[in-house]
Amino acid sequence: MISHPMPEFGSYSLLLALIFTGYNLLVGGFALWGGSPSGLRITRRPEAVWNRIGETARRAGIASFVALCCAAFALVWAAFTNDFSVEYIRAHSNIALNPAYKFAALWSGQEGSLLLWAFLLSAYGFVLRVRHRVDVRLSAFASVILSGVQFFFVLLLCVGAPPFSTPPGPVPADGAGLNPLLQYPEMVMHPPLLYLGYVGFSVPFAFALGALMMRYPGEKWIHITRRWTMVTWLFLTVGIFMGAHWAYSVLGWGGYWGWDPVENASLMPWLTGTAFLHSVMMQEKRGMMKNWNVWLIFSTFLLTILGTLLTRSGAVASVHAFAQSAIGAWFYTFIVIAFAVCLFTFFFQRDHLKSENKLESLVSRESSFLFNNLILLVACFTVLWGTLFPVLSEYVQGSKVTVGAPFYNRVNIPIGLFLLFLTGIGPLLAWRSTSLRSIRRNFILPSIAMAATAIALMISGVRPWNDGDDMQSTLFSLVAFTLSAGVITAIVEEFLRGANVVRTQTGKNILSSTVLLVRRNTRRYGGYIIHFGIVVMFIGIAGGAFDQAREMEMSYGDTLSIGGYTLICRSITQDSTPNYDTNFAVLDEYHNGKFVKQLSPEKRTYFPGTDHEQPSTIVALHSTAQADLYTVFEGTNPDTGRPIIKVILHPLIAWIWIGVVIVVVGTFIALAPNLVRTAVRQRQEELAAVGHAPLGVPGVLAKVPHA
């Protein structure tokens, strides 16, 4: 085996990153203090001197990004060149591993994923430091806070979990290979996206804490961080659902969400982050909820760290055992320090967070945001409570208990339905106060849609009271479909109402008017599209109440029927590759008597390096908008030697993934600038410049009526 200098290069890069990050933290912090009124008074040096010192700290922050790039490159290089002298590469890669998965080795283990975390954090910091002119002093505060977080991770990499450790003794000829469950295309994307989401929340956190420390006037910091928060939220959303899709497609148990502590750890910051995205509008719009918003973003950041702590310290049992180690003490210390900094800053600066307005009516947009936040936080608390309850139970009763899907489903589904209800009514309420007339006008169509849907569903057979076997889930589904119909109608109504006004103004057709409407206010209508995507996801989830499953031993010519589908076994085949052996069944799929396609569920046995054999399932799936036909090669009956095939019919499940795509589209729209509005305003200015009266202040859009 060729020896490479890369481990040394990686180690020194990490050391340099630690020095640069430490410099950014200490010198940057000192420069901020020196440049403050009290610092200037005590040191009696001109502000320009402190600004120059602060600038060196900013550049050190940028240099730390370069150093972490080098460290990440060194680890990937070691994986690609099969450098098994590095313990991490030996444990997570092997010669026969597909190159794409060798790249994924960077985040398939403890040390690599921590390096990825530090690298992404430095990348976010790099963007922040390069774009510092947006607000130099606030960016300097955020940069120092971010470097504090980064310092922890780089120190951990240098001392607690070094990715480039090279154990003494002979270099192994081959590695142990990547966990077979991770050898799937989505696994190349899921962890980095999830980490981009986790790590990204550090940026709005740093801005919020920095704004509080420096008593930043006004709400501009929220406007600066809005895009950061939305992009981060998008990464986390896509990361979570990519993980869900991976679980659905790979694990072969037929579900997509198992309420495992690691899954819960990703969901908790998503819930608080979603609450923050909503409630921050109240601060932007009306100067309200400042304390609440600051604590929401603090909590979101702390939850990303807590999630990592819970799953890596071994405090709670998780099926993601490959990520556990003894670095819990590091995270305990860091989370205590981070919480203390947040608490002290809040305590000393709390007078700066006085609300400029108070809520005026219970039936108002503000009120709906408040309840939306309440529900999201209760959901977050429930997930945290369920995750921690086994630890609490062990402490109180002396014995651990399992808190699994039955608990979370029973508690969280009603909460989710309440959230769906609020998603529908929130946008229909006006800011400050909503009149009874407005409520009647806005709610009549959604109410009719809900009633019609409920009646249609009951007529078509969705009757919980008759469904003795499955009353609870059928009832939940009926409520979910009914509420979804109401919310979709409300959203469509909003679009049509606005588009009609644009059509009247411009003479365009309704489709062009709708596009124009969206382009004129991307934030508002992008938000509606995101809500629509969430509703579509609820529809997909609600379809789960009508799942059907069958399992049977099959050999050539055997037939299995489920729903309107029939599967005929054509062959049972074995194959071998350098990385794994596989058994797979070839099944012909017929729907209502017509041939549709051939499905080949697999059971693979990986035998990398010197480790023991590792079995893995490859699900064969036929996905349509109506239902997924999900086939699993469960194994072979040792008595008969015949393969066991499990088939699950998942109605509407594809809508979950379609909903995610809609959410992504909506987020991109919400992030886009209002292009047409700029043109309209430009036209107004031109008219005003040549002496014509403007089109009206604040412009054409002000004429679009809203609730």
Partner: protein, 176 residues
């Protein structure tokens, strides 16, 4: 009489009615009975092989426990024991972690009560806070009738020329 009727059907009344109805619906749904006994109990038990999966969903190759446990479940159902007795039988044999959710009574009940308690407390708390804010806002409006922001959102005293453009933009973007 007309005034009374109008008051009874104000927005607050309707909001409260809808919320109460929804809470009743959710409570009713949470009390609902489940699937067939085998499916239901099988989904309330965990496979004891440490795979972390529900008994009826454990699908890993060569699982040493799931097939035996499923047979035991069928045998227990055949004895005519109640759900609680069957669960207790499994707990005695495999320990408390065999249950997929805390269901043994006693301290296990805390797992269920706390989230509901937090939800109710938070809801009541929010109502109280909103009511107090509303009362304070009305009192302020009565004592300072001239208060009004540049945009009708921030008090005039809080607005400055630098923030005006930003607030105008925010107002447009969050306009509904």
């Amino acid at each position: 009489m007309r005034k009374l009727t109008h008051a009874r059907h104000g927005p607050v009344f309707w909001a409260r009615t809808v919320q109460t109805a929804l809470l009743c619906l959710i409570t009713m749904a949470m009390l609902g009975a489940g699937q067939s006994r085998f499916d239901r109990i099988g989904h309330e038990l965990m496979c004891s092989c440490s795979c972390g999966q529900v008994l009826l969903e454990c699908n890993h190759v060569g699982c040493p426990d799931s097939a035996r446990m499923i047979d035991e479940l069928r045998a227990q159902l055949a004895t005519g024991n109640s759900d609680t007795q069957i669960q207790q039988w499994f707990v005695t044999k495999y320990g408390a972690t065999v249950l997929a959710a805390p269901m043994r009574g006693g301290f296990d009940n805390v797992a269920w009560i706390v989230p509901i308690g937090v939800f109710l407390l938070a809801t009541i708390g929010t109502f109280v806070v909103v009511w107090l804010w509303k009362r304070r806002a009305l009192a302020m409006a009565a004592s300072m009738p001239a208060v009004g922001g540049v945009l009708g959102e921030f008090p005039a005293s809080q607005s400055n020329p630098q923030d005006a453009a930003l607030r105008e933009r925010i107002r447009r973007e969050t306009e509904y």
